[in-house]
Amino acid sequence: MFYARLIAIIALLALAGCKGITDDLMPSGEDKRPDVEAGSNGTQVGQLSPDFSVQDTLDNTRILSDELATSDGVVLYFNMWCPICDAHTSHMRSSIMPDFPQVRFFLVDYVSGSVAVSRAAQLSNGYASSLVLVDADQSLFNMYHASMGTTVVIDSTGIVRMNEDYKDGVKLKEILQSLP
């Protein structure tokens, strides 16, 4: 009976392995990022970002190329008004944004679905003074292959300089310091 139970447990683990858990059981530090042609069109680091147009929570239309024309670069933070998002954005507000006044920081709300709901979430979470883009149809979310906490940096020439999780903000700061 004991062995039957043991076999059942091992079988469950084996099945789980089939769903791709082995990446966590044996993590890899190998750099597997695909090679990209510098300056080609796309949203990976080194590529030229597609232009986009999206509403903000004050119902203004924001166009990437316009923002880049009047700043040193644009930062997009994909936000869903959650504890981790709040930890990231609070850190970004207090430790990074003050050092880069010429960079345009946007929170991208990809969950609220409308300007009104997004604005309400923005205010209730204490981000009244932040610039929030309303990604109502998740077009930006899909375009940048984003997830919660993804942070994208686009320099003034339109080149994507960063596209990954915010983590502790160290890499974001390094990237912003290296902007032309």
């Binding site: 990446d23 966590d24 504890p83 930890a87 999780d165 983590k167």
Partner: protein
Amino acid sequence: MLPTRLVVVAGVLCAFSPTAWAASCCGGGSAASLIMPKFAKAMMDVSIDWEHYDGFWDSDGKYHSDPPGSDLNQYRLNLAYGHRLASRWQASVILPYVWNSNQYAGLTSKTDGLGDTTLNLVYEPFDKIKCVWRVRNWEDLKPAVYYGVSLTVPTGISPYDDVTNSFDITGRGFYRLDGSVMLDKTIYPWNVSLLFSYGKYLERDVNREYGKYVEPYKKQLGDRKLGTASVGYTYFLESMDTLTFTLAYSLLQEDAGTINGHPDLTTEMEKKSVSATLAYASMDRNWIFKGTWGHAMPESGQGKNFPVTDVFTIRVSHVLR
């Protein structure tokens, strides 16, 4: 919407909540007990959790409610098996399966998958049952003490697996080693227990986030501390079956983690919670049925950087003698 990442975090916590354990050295179902009764050969345990989310605490401890219309839930089926290795040693394995069901603002998501597995080894430095009916001498006041070591194995689906978005996640992606000590004393009809555990996550390599390969880095979550105190009262039915009612208070904290050796303050968290458990045990204490309600206060100052949840658990344990 949970940030499935958070659902997972909360779900993983349950592996160490008092209600994750099933019996006591005497049997019968104290809520804070950790293991199978003394002299039992083995124990099987099945539980179902329903965790309902109700806003979150930010990193300053301020409470925020979820947007109107949100309905965030996680369901877990936990299969556990404990086996006595020797008179003072026992081991167990807990295998959860997780279902996420979330409606948040404009998004709906339903996903499921295996959660992180927990392996436990417990040492009991005593040979006689410590539950007494009457205190006759100082020896009768000695509690049952349990020393435990647990290994959390990242069998769940984490942000670092080949997943497309955060809703696919059912685990944290890190190995964790916990040491714990529990003191449990029953002087019928009362029971008191204290549980302390300290966990250390192992550092790991990360080269992918949500299916997207990134510049490799090393990540480690912060040390984890859990303290739980509980008080229970047992009522004996005419059949000598028992009903035990237990109240517990828990404080859980995780320190800041590190990324490439640098502190990552965004991963610090804290959660205070209370729980109430009603346990029914058969006269021979071989069958135990439990219902537990775990509650976190949806108000500022009760936690940090963590979702506020209610957890409802139904549990059946069977002890093999």
